[in-house]
Symmetry: C2
Amino acid sequence: MTTDDRTTKARIRDAAIICIAHNSVADTTVRKVASVAEVSPGLVIHHYGSMEGLRDSCDTYIAASIRKQKQETIMSGANFDVMSVIRDSEVGSMGGYLASVLGDDSPAVAKLVDDLVADAEDYMEQGVESGSLVPTDNPRARATVISLWSLGALAMNKHVKRLMGVDLTNLHQNSDAALANYLNSVYEILGNGILTESVADQLRKTVSEAVAENQPDSQTTSSKQEKSSGAGGEGTS
Amino acid sequence: MTTDDRTTKARIRDAAIICIAHNSVADTTVRKVASVAEVSPGLVIHHYGSMEGLRDSCDTYIAASIRKQKQETIMSGANFDVMSVIRDSEVGSMGGYLASVLGDDSPAVAKLVDDLVADAEDYMEQGVESGSLVPTDNPRARATVISLWSLGALAMNKHVKRLMGVDLTNLHQNSDAALANYLNSVYEILGNGILTESVADQLRKTVSEAVAENQPDSQTTSSKQEKSSGAGGEGTS
DNA sequence: TCTCGTATTGAACAGTTGTTTAATAAACTA
DNA sequence: TAGTTTATTAAACAACTGTTCAATACGAGA
């Protein structure tokens, strides 16, 4: 057993990250963290002031770890995906932590997600330039949707695991067959889409018309509380 | 105000659903539910046995409500999406409830998700037959991935709202501009994909090779490799 | 060596959790 | 009508929560 050169304070934070990753934020208590870190509950508070302080430190540490990793690694245009961050992270429970934490809206997590999306937009722009990705009229919106789907799948990891046999928080130790099954579908969708051309055109036309209908003059952008006429209209009946 | 003809027991369940949808599972306590339902904490337990029993009843009720809605509504092939269920639900906080609950893995929620995915596969098959969707070698996997992305976005609703100004739990009350911005990207991705053809082919080839590489001499398992020709592929497993 | 600040602990505290109990009110049953 | 469930409440309960406190051990600097 190698000597643990981490400070006690760092060990407590790591214990908290493991607790949150393996269980959930809700039942990560002072005493459980203390037990994993093999210290007394009081010491946890002594070092981090409060449970909220500990949680903040975890978020900050995870965000810093991702930032550091992105700086050290050369990210190609094909690695626009959040999963590449998780796969190569030196923090073992990075994926599980993110999965547990994406549900609630702590400011630190919000900023982390914002940064990931912003980075994805950059990477995807590189991808367009290098010919990996097709161009788009709205790069930001596309990068945001793709990132949200990616992170959303991570937040749904329990269901992904049950339905497809793939553990997104631990990409290394999946069965090859299951992972191939999953990735093939992802690449198929991201490669060709799923809608036929005519239907896709029609859907987008419907959206544009709904906007033009409810906003005949170009005034303010926030016109809430309108009766939804064609909102969300995927229906072709 | 119309007289409330619901039974007290039903009112308590609805109060719990509202609590979970507006806050979270973790801080939906007996006393908060009792307060919303305007009853005493003890009565909540009297009717549902325990907090877990109440939660089970909520899950069951939501699942039944979705099932009922699907039976009553004619679902077209284009409505493979989960969002159509939420948009038209008579349970107001359906979307918020699902968003709050998708993170943890209660058996009832797992079954609900499984059902939604299975239905999506059916609807998408109809979509292929009607010419709305392009065919696929692996309908089950494609339906699963699409459904998980859809539900995942719902689970990420706080981030969706912050980043794109769209509230997926309340599709009716979004600004038209924001919703159009969101839907246009979704339809663009689902219509054309984002990867160029060469890259998509290469990625899928990489996946196939990785499978073949790690399982070179296993005759029995290598038969699970994806093959575009065979009928149905592994969709029946 | 003594001192002083930090690290660490175990016990205690106040607050909240889900649940139980005894009592009362209401509603059905005969 | 009387009797027996059921509905409902207020209060109490034990188990847990985060946090505080006093006491002790420890390590660096004089």
